[in-house]
C-alpha cells in the first residue's frame, strides 16, 4: 500500500468514526431550542431529577475517592502476586453490563438477601429503592474509572522522589500528603471528574437497585428513560443538559491533566 493510499484510508476511517460519535450529539443539540430547554427546566420533575443526579453523583464520587484512593496507593506500593487478579476484580464492574451490577447490588443489599437481614438486625433501614441505593449503584459502576486513573497518577510519581522525601526525614504519611498528593493531583482530579460524569449518566444499575421513583430515586437518565414515552421535548431537554454537564466535566478533566482544550 502506498503512503498516499494509507493516508487516505486513515483519514476516511477516522472521519467515519468521528462522525458516528458526533452525529447523535449534534442531533440532540439541533433538536433542542433555547425556548424548549427553558420550558423543560421549569418542570419540577426535571428539576428534582437534576438535583438528585447532581447530589448523588457528587456523593458517589467523594465516597469513591475516599475509598479507592487508599486502595490505589496500596496497590501501587504493595507488590504481591495477587495484585493483577485483585485489580482485575476491582475494575470488573466497569466492564459488566450495568444491569448485572444492579442485580448484584440487589442480591447483596436486598431486604432478604446477603446483607439485608444483618442490616435490619443493626437497626438500619433497607437500602434498595432509596437515594443511598442510587449512590451505591453509581459508586459500583463509576468507581473503577477513578481507581484506574488514581493508579496511573500514583504510579507516575517517581519512586526516587518518594525515597528522597523519606531520607530527608518525612514519614510515610507526610510523604503522602506533601509529595504524593500534589504530584498526582492532576491525574486524581481528572479521574474524579470522569468518575462524576460517569456516575451522572448511570442508568441500568440504578433502575434495578434504586428504582425510578420521581422526587426520590429518579435521576436524570431514569427521567429521560420514562419521559421519552410521554414528553419527548422534556426528554431531549434533559438529555442536552446531561450532555452539557458531562462535556463540562470531561473538558475540566482534560484541563486538570494539563492537556490542550
Amino acid at each position: 500500500m502506498s503512503d498516499r493510499l494509507f493516508g487516505c484510508a486513515l483519514r476516511l476511517l477516522a472521519g467515519c468514526y468521528a462522525g458516528l460519535v458526533a452525529l447523535p450529539l449534534l442531533a440532540l443539540l439541533l433538536h433542542a431550542t433555547p425556548a424548549t430547554l427553558a420550558a423543560a427546566l421549569r418542570s419540577p420533575v426535571v428539576w428534582q431529577a437534576v438535583g438528585l443526579s447532581l447530589l448523588t453523583a457528587t456523593a458517589a464520587t467523594l465516597l469513591v475517592v475516599a475509598g479507592a484512593l487508599p486502595l490505589a496507593w496500596l496497590l501501587t506500593r504493595q507488590v504481591t502476586r495477587w495484585r493483577g487478579l485483585l485489580t482485575t476484580l476491582l475494575e470488573l464492574p466497569a466492564a459488566l453490563p450495568p444491569a448485572v451490577a444492579g442485580l448484584g447490588l440487589l442480591l447483596a443489599f436486598g431486604r432478604y438477601q446477603l446483607l439485608g437481614p444483618w442490616l435490619t438486625r443493626c437497626g438500619l433501614p433497607p437500602v434498595a429503592l432509596t437515594p443511598a441505593a442510587v449512590v451505591l449503584a453509581q459508586m459500583l459502576v463509576a468507581g473503577p474509572l477513578f481507581l484506574r486513573a488514581a493508579r496511573a497518577a500514583l504510579e507516575a510519581v517517581p519512586p526516587r522522589v518518594l525515597q528522597a522525601s523519606a531520607v530527608l526525614g518525612a514519614g510515610e504519611a507526610t510523604t503522602f500528603r506533601r509529595i504524593v498528593l500534589p504530584l498526582a493531583r492532576p491525574g486524581l482530579l481528572g479521574g474524579a471528574l470522569v468518575t462524576w460524569a460517569r456516575a451522572l449518566g448511570e442508568l441500568g444499575a440504578t433502575l434495578l437497585f434504586a428504582g425510578n421513583l420521581p422526587g426520590w430515586t429518579q435521576t436524570m437518565p431514569s427521567a429521560i428513560f420514562v419521559t421519552w414515552q410521554v414528553d419527548r421535548t422534556a426528554a431531549v431537554s434533559l438529555s442536552v443538559l446531561l450532555l452539557l454537564l458531562s462535556a463540562g466535566a470531561l473538558l475540566l478533566a482534560r484541563r486538570c491533566a494539563g492537556e490542550v482544550l
Binding site: P158, R160, V161, Q163, A164, S165, A166, V167, L168, G169, A170, G171, T174, R178, I179, P182, L183
Partner: protein
C-alpha cells in the same frame, strides 16, 4: 568526623553482595557497572533491606538484622544525593532545599545560607523543570545538607554535568562539607573525583570489596583490576604456563612471558596489575635483575605536576611514571625505541 560502619549481606538470585567496612572520613566508592555501588547506598540509608547485616552511624546502631532492628530512612539522618537529583517537581528551589527543616530535620534558618553557598539565591523561586542539570544537582546537594545529615551519601552526583561544571560543583561541595564537618561517601566512576576527594577509596567488584585504602596509595599502587583502570595503571590478563620456583609463576601475556609472585598452578587465568611507578625505562635491554620487560617504541608522553607518563607500545602497551629529568636524560620522545622493565615483586595479582 563521625564513623560509618557496616557489614552487609544481600542475595538477589545469582548476584550476591557481601562486604564490611568502617569509614571515618571522606570515602569514594568505585567499581564497574552492576558491582552494587548504588545498592550499598540504598542499604545504608534504609531504602533497601539486607538479608543480614548491621549499620552504625556515629556510634548509633540504625540497623541490626540479628536484633530485628531497622530504623526507617527518616530516622537514620543520612543524606542521600541521587544520580538524577530526584527533586520535588511541584516545589520551588527554596522549598526543595527547605524540605528537611519543614518536616522536622534541620534548621530553617540555614536554608538561605545554603542557597547562597550553592549560588541558588537567584533561582529560589524557580521549579526544577526550569533548571539545568548542574543547577538541579546543586539543589539536590543543598537539600540534603539542609536536613543536617551525619553523613552525606552521593550517587554519581556529577555524572549528568558537563566537564566544565564538574570541578566547580565538586570544589563547592568539598568546601561546604569541610565547614559543616559532614563526611561524604561518594559513588563515582571518575578517577579525578575518587582521588580528589582526599580520603579512602573502596573498590567494589561483583558485590565484594576487592580493595580499600587511602586515595594516594591506591592511585600510585592499585591492586585490583578496576582500581588499576581507575588509576590508569597497567592491567593485563594472562595464564600461568609454568611454576619455576615456590611462590612464583610464569604467566603468558600476549606473546610475552612474565614471572609473577603467585603460587597459582599451571593453567590458572590471572589478572595482573603493574603500577606505572614500578616500571623502569631504558633505551635498550639492559643487564638487570628485573625479570619482566616490554620492548617497543614510545607511543605517548604526558607530563603533569605528578611526573611524566610514558607509554611504550610493544607486544602489550605499558605505561611508566618517570620524572621529567629522567625522561630528558634518556632522550625519549614519541617514536623512540624503548624498553619497559619491572621486577617480579612489582606485579600485583587481582
Amino acid at each position: 568526623m563521625s564513623e560509618l560502619r557496616a557489614h552487609l549481606r544481600l542475595r538477589r538470585g545469582a548476584w550476591q553482595l557481601e562486604l564490611e567496612f568502617a569509614l571515618d572520613g571522606h570515602t569514594a566508592l568505585v567499581g564497574p557497572n552492576g558491582s552494587g555501588k548504588t545498592t550499598v547506598l540504598d542499604l545504608l540509608t534504609g531504602l533497601a533491606a539486607p538479608d543480614q547485616g548491621a549499620v552504625w552511624v556515629a556510634g548509633d546502631c540504625v540497623l541490626d538484622t540479628a536484633r530485628r532492628l531497622a530504623l526507617p530512612p527518616a530516622r537514620r539522618r543520612l543524606g542521600y544525593v541521587f544520580q538524577d537529583a530526584a527533586l520535588f517537581g511541584h516545589l520551588s528551589v527554596a522549598q526543595n532545599v527547605g524540605y528537611g527543616p519543614a518536616v522536622g530535620h534541620g534548621a530553617a534558618a540555614q536554608v538561605d545560607e545554603l542557597l547562597g553557598q550553592f549560588e541558588l539565591t537567584e533561582l529560589a523561586a524557580r521549579r526544577p523543570l526550569e533548571l539545568s542539570a548542574g543547577e538541579r544537582q546543586r539543589v539536590a546537594v543543598a537539600r540534603a545538607l539542609a536536613a543536617e545529615p551525619r553523613w552525606l551519601l552521593l550517587d554519581e552526583p556529577f555524572a549528568a554535568l558537563d566537564v566544565a561544571a564538574r570541578p566547580l560543583l565538586r570544589a563547592r561541595l568539598l568546601a561546604t562539607l569541610e565547614v559543616r564537618g559532614v563526611p561524604a561517601l561518594l559513588v563515582t566512576h571518575d578517577a579525578e573525583e575518587a582521588f580528589g576527594l582526599g580520603g579512602e577509596v573502596l573498590v567494589l567488584e561483583a558485590g565484594r570489596l576487592v580493595e580499600q585504602g587511602p586515595a594516594e596509595r591506591l592511585a600510585a599502587s592499585p591492586s585490583s583490576a578496576f582500581g588499576a583502570a581507575l588509576a590508569q595503571s597497567n592491567h593485563y590478563r594472562g595464564q600461568v604456563v609454568a611454576s619455576p620456583a615456590p611462590g612464583q609463576a610464569v604467566v603468558q601475556v600476549a606473546s610475552l612471558r612474565w614471572t609473577v609472585p603467585t603460587p597459582a598452578a599451571v593453567g590458572v587465568p590471572l589478572a595482573l596489575v603493574v603500577p606505572p611507578a614500578e616500571v623502569l625505562l631504558a633505551t635498550a635491554p639492559p643487564a638487570t635483575s628485573a625479570r619482566n620487560q616490554v620492548v617497543g617504541v614510545v607511543a605517548a608522553v604526558q607530563c603533569t605536576a605528578a611526573g611524566c607518563r610514558v607509554t611504550v607500545q610493544g607486544a602489550v602497551r605499558i605505561t611508566a611514571l618517570v620524572t621529567p629529568a629522567a625522561l630528558q636524560e634518556l632522550g625519549l620522545a614519541v617514536g623512540s625505541p624503548a624498553v619497559a622493565l619491572f621486577k617480579v615483586s612489582a606485579v600485583k595479582i587481582c
